[in-house]
């Protein structure tokens, strides 16, 4: 599996993680190119369905990242998101979705280096896990 290039989708908030990743770029820090970023207004906006749709479209790993607690641009969006994730992770686990492929992080606009480090570690983990075959197989199944 050495030539396996994972598809990693990152759902990030506009105010912290996206700006943080921007800083990674302007600081000329290199990081794994397998990640595709999707910018949303707030982590509170990240519907759990987006995560499922990412896997449906062939993602091997998903990142969700936003402002640290207390730093939300909308005051409490990330607190609400955190509650949703606590429950949604349990549900994913319960229906047998591989939660080792779902990564959560708080990364602020000043943490460009943390973003690079985080993405690298995610890419490494997902490479080790290999392609998400079981989900791909179900997604590719025809209509009965």
């Amino acid at each position: 599996m050495s030539d396996f290039e994972p598809k990693i989708i990152a759902f990030v908030c506009n105010w912290c993680t996206y700006a943080g990743a921007d800083l990674t770029g302007t600081s000329r820090i290199k990081y794994s190119p397998e990640v595709r970023m999707i910018r949303l207004p707030c982590t509170g906006r990240i519907d759990f369905m987006l995560l499922l749709k990412a896997f449906d479209q062939g993602a091997d790993g998903v990142i969700v990242s936003g402002c640290h607690p207390g730093d939300c641009h909308y005051t409490s969006g990330n607190f609400h998101a955190r509650r949703r994730w606590i429950i949604f992770r349990e549900l994913m686990e319960f229906v047998g979705i591989d939660t080792r492929r779902v990564f959560f992080a708080w990364i602020s606009a000043a943490e460009g280096a943390k973003w690079a480090q985080f993405v690298n570690s995610v890419a490494e983990d997902v490479k080790k896990l290999g392609p998400y075959e079981s989900y791909k197989k179900a997604a590719g199944a025809g209509i009965e």
Binding site: K53, R82, R83, I87, G96, F104, A138, A139, A141
Partner: protein
């Protein structure tokens, strides 16, 4: 249940209510929901251990609401649903007449939400040993085994949405399944689409499901749907210490937060 019939007939003849939602004899030895609008019809109401449907599902239906003021025969799950509907601003105190039925089958006077809360506080809100065992059986499986188990179950789904129709808390007039731009849930029964639908249903009922099990009873292909709801209800209780349908004024578990909520899974 002479007491219930008498009370229902009284409510109807005095004009206090226009319709009493209860149970009547159906076909094949089964019972069905009945809508008594006259004292004569009220005389045919029955209430025994065969009557398991959660009648609260009719409280939000416009066809029933248009009949006038409602009285509902309410066993414990119905009472919990009424409180949950009240917490979600779907019912006002005094809007309906509640004909409470205790677990022993006795008619109970429940004039307001406060009385329902006090009555329910005395009834244990826990999983039965069988329900616990079912959950534990799945929890003990490996992730792969669980995936295979649920894929097999979801493959049976024909997208009839009977689970949604039977659920008293699935009262949205326009559902996510009707949204086709983007198409969140594929219309045809498809392996992943089926799973997505059941995940959405479970998530949208998180912290709201009172565990009546009507979704599972309504399912024509026998998917153990209430397992998903029960699992999430237990997780909500474990993490946030709240349960659905215990108070008429209760914050929705996912509509609020605590600064100290756990985040050991977030880097």
């Amino acid at each position: 249940m002479e007491e219930l019939r008498k009370k229902a007939a009284e409510l109807l003849s005095s004009g206090t209510v226009k319709v009493v939602i209860g149970f009547a004899q159906g076909s094949g030895g089964k019972t069905r929901a009945a809508f008594a609008q006259t004292p004569d019809q009220a005389a045919k109401l029955i209430c025994d251990e065969r009557c398991v449907q959660n009648l609260a599902v009719y409280l939000s239906k416009s066809e029933v609401k248009s009949l006038g003021k409602i009285a509902v025969v309410a066993k414990v799950p119905v009472l919990r649903t009424i409180l949950q509907l009240a917490a979600e601003n779907q019912l006002k105190d005094g809007e309906i007449v509640v004909l409470g039925i205790s677990p022993e089958g006795k008619l109970v006077e429940l004039p307001d939400f406060k009385a329902i809360e006090d009555f329910l506080a005395k009834i244990p809100y826990e999983l039965t040993p069988e329900q616990k065992a079912e959950l534990e059986k799945l929890e003990k499986m490996s992730v792969e085994e669980r995936w295979n188990y649920w894929q097999e179950q979801f493959a049976k789904c024909v997208k009839c949405y009977a689970c949604r129709a039977a659920c008293p808390l699935c009262y949205c007039e326009s559902c996510l399944t009707q949204c086709n731009q983007p198409q969140w849930i594929p219309v045809a029964p498809h392996q992943v689409g089926n799973m997505e639908w059941h995940i959405v249903r479970a998530m949208h009922l998180t912290g709201r499901c009172i565990g009546c099990g009507d979704c599972e009873r309504a399912c024509p292909v026998g998917i153990p749907l209430s397992l998903l709801n029960r699992k999430l209800a237990e997780e909500v209780f474990k993490n946030f210490k709240t349960r659905a349908g215990v108070a008429a004024k209760e914050e929705y578990a996912l509509g609020t937060f605590k600064p100290e909520d756990k985040e050991n899974f977030i880097k």
